[in-house]
Amino acid sequence: MRWQPARLVARRAETPTAQTLVLDVPGWSAHLPGQHVDLRLTAPDGYQAARSYSLAAPADGDRIEVTVQRVPDGEVSPFLTDTYREGDPVEVRGPIGGWFVWRPQQTDPVLLVAGGSGVVPLMAMIRARRAAGSRVPFRLIYSVRTPADVFYAAELRDRVRADAGLDVAYVYTREAPEGWRGEPHRLGLADVNNHGWPPELDPLVYVCGPTGFVETVSDLLVGLGHPARRVRTERFGPTG
């Protein structure tokens, strides 16, 4: 696996602090939803910084997408969200990862649990399910601070209507939208119980988000009777 030159061909704002970058990578090989790429920047004096980003969608020919959450004081993410221009080069390496992946030929029901920007690899799975015409039952529980922090908001609204067998439930931790029933709260046992699959259906569970969130959710799942081997986690460390 080598570093490959890539160019920014488009960007989309997801939230005030997160952007999806569409990169053209000549000769890109296909990837599985859940995999990530390493992205490398080089300064004029040869200094380099690389970070890992989850792929947000199936490849479209040579085009791949990542969604970058701007980390204040970060070395790489603020450059990518604020400064990096269309047409400019970066290098990517990948796809990487063979564990936190969903293969479209799988038939088990799937539960996805996202904390904040942890939704990115899970959205890749939702999009891959759609692209494959899979009818595997999918449920996403998506925990965000406020409605303004939802990535892919419009697309998720459309997908729930158009993709049979996909359900999405939101948990707001700080501020809920108008007309929301219930109070903002951190994701808890009731949410996982009400919006997940019962363990007797033997679902495959993918949990992605900040460390504390993933610890809490995976403990709840195991407590509800999901076998630990059926719960795949990806903890997002702080990557600047």
């Binding site: 696996m1 570093w3 030159p5 490398r40 920047l41 080089t42 300064a43 004029p44 040869g46 200094y47 380099q48 910084a49 690389a50 970070r51 890992s52 070395e75 450059f79 400064t83 990096y84 221009r85 400019d88 080069p89 970066v90 290098e91 390496r93 990487i96 990862g97 063979g98 564990w99 936190f100 460390t211 610890e215 995976s218 403990d219 799942l221 195991v222 630990a228 081997r229 719960v231 795949r232 986690t233 990806e234 903890r235 460390g237 702080p238 990557t239 600047g240």
Partner: protein, 199 residues
Amino acid sequence: MGIVTPGFSGRPRVEAPELPPGQYLTPDFPVLSAGPTPRVERDAWEFVITTETGAEHRWSWAQMMALPQETPTVDIHCVTRWSKLGTSWQGVSLDTLLDEVETAADYALAHSYGGYSTNLPLDDLRDGRAWLVHTYDGEELPAEHGGPARLLVPHLYFWKSAKWVRGIRLSLDDTPGFWETAGYHDYGDPWREQRYQGD
């Protein structure tokens, strides 16, 4: 030298000779695991070294704690690019544990409560380069960082330092472990940037 991205300057350069290529320093201690955190009680805990002939050497928690203790202070390097310098641990040197083990094996497969595994050449566990640690920074090692006890092999990327370690199987053949079968390098030397298969 890669392709220059216009406008990127990066952070002010810090001369850090102790930092392997492609790594950056972090003040915190991120947690990265592939599944739920196993919870293992110390009185039910055991550590087993199994040789290539099937001979087993077992230690209970009390037996392990009664062995000579060491306090390594080491730099650790995660394949996800963060490094942490001068981390302090307490535990038992693998030299002490292997001392009573008769083996002709070249390879070790560490396996953990919860099902994790990782492979290393047996030599990499010898000569004061690997420990079974139970204390981090003067405190009991928390479960999310691999407590009650984890392997500490700081000269390799940190996924080789198996959390919740339960035993080591010695063998004449190399068997890839969890991440090694999922695209990561068989050996994982941070100084040679052996992150992924084929590096």
